[in-house]
Symmetry: D2
C-alpha cells in the first residue's frame, strides 16, 4: 500500500475500511470524546496482533483535532493549550513520569520549514534545569526541564537518536518529550491535529526516512512523542486520489514516485509552524507546571 | 478546465494535446534550441487568435530548462547564468530597451517561502541608480538600476502594480524587469525552469489571485517578466492525475477544491529559493552589464 | 560638538547643560507628566530661535520612557501600548488628521538588526485599505490603513522619501506615520524610549546619513514620526565619556571617528527589536481604532 | 583591570605595555610572519609563569589578521581561506590529530547575531560521518566529520561543554574543533581577526560568562579552538578610553558597568557574521581535506 501516514487515527481508519468483519478486529480499541470543545480520539494498540494490523507499535495514541481553532474564537488559543496540556499530563501520569526531570527534544531540520516544528517548539519551552542549580529555592516549584534541538543526520553526521541517547546518559531525565513533524494522509488534518503517544519516535519519519528509534527501551525512561502533521506526501495524495480507480499511472504520478521529496503543504506553512509551535510549547509548559497561566508563560519567555 | 499553469510552454503543450488537426493551429509558433547546453523553448503568440487558444497575451515566451544544473556539473551555475542572461539580453534588445535605465521589481511575499523568489532576487541585484548620482564617472560603464520589493496586497493594502506604477512615474525607467513565482502544471518543472516573457505580469498570479496588470500599456515602458515555477497547485495536480479517468471525486479532491491554498512543492524549497534567486540575480546583472564576470558580481554584492 | 542624538529630550538636556542663564532660554518649552505609570516628557520647539538652539525643527516631541516595562509587571505590555497610543492619538488630533486615511511607512534596513524596527513594526500593523474596497460594510468601523517598507537607498537606488512621496501621490493619505530607528546619546535610553513627533523624518538619520525629508511640506499631509533609539553611536559614547576631561585622543577613539559604522547596542538587540516592534504596532493600531482591545489585534493579525 | 579580551595577541600587548623590564618577560614568546599576504602573530605561552602573566592557558595562539580582505582584492576570499586553513592544518598536525575523525562544535546562540558565528560556521562545514557509513568507498578520501551546534545554557539548561562531552563519549572523535565568538579590546580587530589555539575553549566566554572548559583533559582528544572577535565589551571600551586619565566616572560609564550586556559591534554585523562564517567553514573544510578547491566545497554544500 502506497499510502503513508504517521497518524494512528488515520492508520486506524484505513484498517477499518479494509476489514469488513467485526470479528477480525481485535487488539485495537478506539474511542472519541471532547475536551475544551475539541474532538479527541484515543486509539489504543493493545497487543502485537493490533500492532501488526495497524502498523504502529503497541501503546496509546491521542489525537486532538484543532479545527475549532481555525474559527478564531476569542479564547481558542487558551482552550487548545488546555486540551493538549490535559491530555499530555494524563499520559505523563499514566507512564509513571509525574514530577520527573524532563528532557524535551525538538527533532527535525530548522532550515526546512515544514520540518522545523520541533526546533520551533523548543523556542517556546520554559527551560529551567540550570536555574534549579543556580537558584534552587526560587525554582523548586517549577518542573526541571532541559531541551535540545539535535539537528538532522545530514547536518550533524550523527543520528539524532544517538545525540539524545548520549545526552540522556549524561543528565538522566525521568521523562523524554520528543516533538516532530508528521505526515498525514488527509489534507484536512495538516496543521489542525496534534498526536500524543507513548510509543516513542523514529526521528526523520516526518519528512524523510526511518532512523534509530527513541523509546523507553533505548533511552531508559518513558518517551512521549508530540507530533503535528505538516505535510502530505505528494505520492500518498496521488495514491489516495487514484485508489478506487483502475486508471493507468500517468506522468505526474510517476514523477511523484521518483521524486519522493515532493510534498503537499499549506501555502502559508511558515506562519502555521510559528503558531503551532507556540501552541505546543505552551501546552507542554502548562502540562509540566500545573497552575501556571498563559500570561505566566508569556512573562517567563519574554 | 481545472488545470492551472503560468508557463506558456505548458499551456502550449495542453493546447497541442487538445487540438488534433494541424490546420487548427495558427496564431502560435514554437521552436526549440540549445544554449550553453540547456534546452530553450520559444513560444510566440502571434495574434489574438493564438492568445485566445493558449490563454496568454500576445508576445514571446522563452523557457530555459535547467535540468542539467541539477546534475551539479562543475560549471553548471556559470553556464545557467550565461544561458538566462543571453536570452534576457536578446529580449531586452528586441523590445528596444538596450541601455535604458532599469527598474527591477521583486514581486511576492517574502514571508511565504515559495512566493519569496522575487524579493530574494532583489538581494542579488546590482543596484546602482544612486551611485550614478554620487559618482557618475566611476559608474558610467554600469547599467543604471533601481530595485523594489513592493510587498503583497495583504501586507500593504495597495496593489503592487500601483506601487510600481507610482514609482515608475517618479523615476521614469526605460525598462521594467519584474520577477515573480509561478505555478506550473508538472512537478518536474518546479525550480528547474525559468520563463522570460515580454508580455508583462499580473502580480499574485503565482500563489494567489489575479491583480492589476504590469505591462507596457500601464507602465509606459517595456516590461520583461522573469518567472520560476515554485509550486504546483494541489488542485491542478489532482485534476491532472484524474483527467483521463471517469472516477468519482473523492474526499481529498474535494478538500483540494475547497482549500485553494494547498500547494505541492519540493521539501527543501527554502534552499531552492535561495539558490534560484542567486542564479536569476546574477543572470540579470550580466544581461544588463555585458562583459561582467561572476566574480565581479560576487565582489560588487559582498 | 561630537555628540549625536535623534532624541529631542536629549538635545534639550544638552542645551540646558550648556546655557547657564534662564534669560537665554526661549523658544523652547518642556514639561513632564505621567500616563499609565510611564514618564512622559513633552518638548515643544516654538520658533526658529528654539529650533536653532536645540538643532531640531519647530514642532512637538513626546518621549515615553518605558523603564517600568523592563520590570516585567504583569500588565506592563498593555499599559505601555495604552500610554503610547494615547499620546499618538492626541498628536494625530492636534494635527487635524483624526479619521483620515493613513499610510504607515516602516523605514530602515530589515537586514541590519538595529535598523530593522521600521519594517518590523509594519508586520504588526492592521492593514485594511484593500479590505475597505472589497468589503466596505464589514470594515467601515476600522481605520483605512496602507503600509509600506520602502527599503533603504543602498538596496533600492531610490531615496525612501521619493518612494513614499510617489506612493502618497497615488493613494492620497490624509496622514503619514513614519517609523524609524534612532540614535540616542545615553545607553540607558536604548530600546526603553519611544519618541513621537509631528515634524516629519529624515530617512536614514537613525543609523546612517541624512536624506531627503519626509514632512508635511513634501508629502502634502501631516507626517507623524515614531522613533525608538536602538543604538548609541560609538563615537558619541566616546565623546560623552571624555567630554569633561582634557585627555589626549587615544587609539580606540580615533578608530571610532574613522569607523563611523561602529555602534553600541544591547547584546540581545534581535529580541528587543522583535518586542518593541510589537509594542509600537499595537499602539498604532489602537490609536487609529479607539475601542479595540489587545486581544482584538491579536486575532486580526493571526 | 577592567579590560576584557579573548585574544591572546591583545593580552600579550597589554602585558608588554605593563612590564617595563625585559628581564621580567619569560614564559611567553611571540613572533610575526606573513602567509598569503596576511599578517600572522604566533603567541606561545610556554609555562605556568607565562600563563599567569598573560592570563591564558599554556599553549599556542595564532592570530590571522584579515585586514587585506576588507580591501576586496579579487582573490581575497581564496587567499584568506588558504591562510587560515594552512595555519589550522599545521596546528592539527602539531597536536597529533592529522587524519583523525573530527567533531566540529559551533558554540554560541544563533538568535543573538554577534554570538551566532559558531552555528553559522556549521552551516558551511562538509559533514561526512554518516556518508562514510552509507558509502564507504565513495568517501574514503574525505575526512570523517561530524558537527553539532549545542545551543547555550539559557536555551538548553545544559552546559554546552556537557553536551559535547556526552556526544564525544558516543562517537569518539580524535579531534574536536570548537568555534566561538570572542570579545576583543580594540574595535579595529572586530570581524577582521581569526584566532586559532590548541588550549581548548570556555563556552560562553565570547558574549557571556565563563562555563565548564572544553579541552583535551575533559574531552580526551585535542581541542582546537577557532574564534572571531565580534564584539568589544562596552565597559572595556570605556575603561580603555579613560585608562590614562584620572577623570570621574560619569553617567554613561556607570551604566556600562551596570549593564554588562551592552556591546560595541559593527553596524552591519549580520552581514559580517554571514561572510566570516563562510570563510571559516571553507578554511576548516580545506584544512581537513587537502587538495580540495573552493569550487569543490561550493558543490558539496550546494
Amino acid at each position: 500500500m502506497g499510502i503513508r501516514t504517521d497518524l494512528a487515527v488515520e492508520a486506524h481508519e484505513i484498517w477499518m475500511e479494509s476489514t469488513n468483519e467485526i470479528s477480525e478486529r481485535s487488539g485495537v480499541s478506539a474511542k472519541e470524546y471532547e475536551r475544551e470543545g475539541f474532538k479527541i480520539t484515543r486509539v489504543e494498540i493493545l497487543d502485537e496482533n493490533g500492532a501488526r494490523e495497524i502498523g504502529k507499535p503497541v501503546g496509546t495514541y491521542i489525537t486532538v483535532e484543532l479545527t475549532n481553532l481555525i474559527k478564531r474564537e476569542n479564547d481558542a488559543f487558551k482552550k487548545a493549550v488546555l486540551a493538549i496540556s490535559e491530555e499530555l499530563r494524563d499520559m505523563i501520569e499514566d507512564n509513571g513520569a509525574k514530577g520527573m526531570n524532563v528532557l524535551i527534544a525538538g527533532l527535525g531540520n530548522r532550515n526546512i520549514t515544514p520540518d522545523a516544528i520541533g526546533p520551533a517548539v523548543i523556542d517556546n519551552v520554559m527551560v529551567t534545569r540550570h536555574l534549579h542549580y543556580k537558584m534552587p529555592d526560587e525554582f523548586k516549584s517549577f518542573a526541571n526541564v532541559a531541551a535540545i534541538s539535535p539537528g538532522v543526520l545530514g547536518m550533524t553526521g550523527v543520528e539524532s537518536g544517538d545525540i539524545i541517547r548520549a545526552l540522556s546518559g549524561k543528565i538522566k531525565p525521568g521523562l523524554v518529550i520528543a516533538i516532530d513533524a508528521l505526515a498525514s494522509r488527509k489534507l484536512s488534518r495538516l496543521c489542525t491535529t496534534v498526536q500524543i503517544s507513548d510509543t516513542g519516535i523514529i526521528p526523520g519519519a516526518g519528512v524523510g526516512n526511518a532512523r534509530s528509534r527513541i523509546d523507553r527501551s533505548t533511552i531508559g525512561a518513558p518517551v512521549i512523542a508530540l507530533g503535528v502533521p505538516t505535510v502530505v506526501d505528494a505520492a500518498t495524495l496521488a495514491e489516495d486520489l487514484l485508489s478506487d480507480s483502475g486508471i493507468t499511472i500517468g506522468d505526474s504520478q510517476k514523477t511523484l514516485r521518483e521524486k519522493g521529496d515532493m510534498i503537499v503543504t499549506p501555502k502559508d506553512i511558515d506562519k502555521y509552524i510559528h503558531d503551532t509551535a507556540k501552541l505546543m510549547g505552551y501546552a507542554i509548559n502548562i502540562a509540566l507546571n500545573p497552575g501556571l497561566e498563559i500570561t505566566d508563560v508569556d512573562m517567563f519567555l519574554s
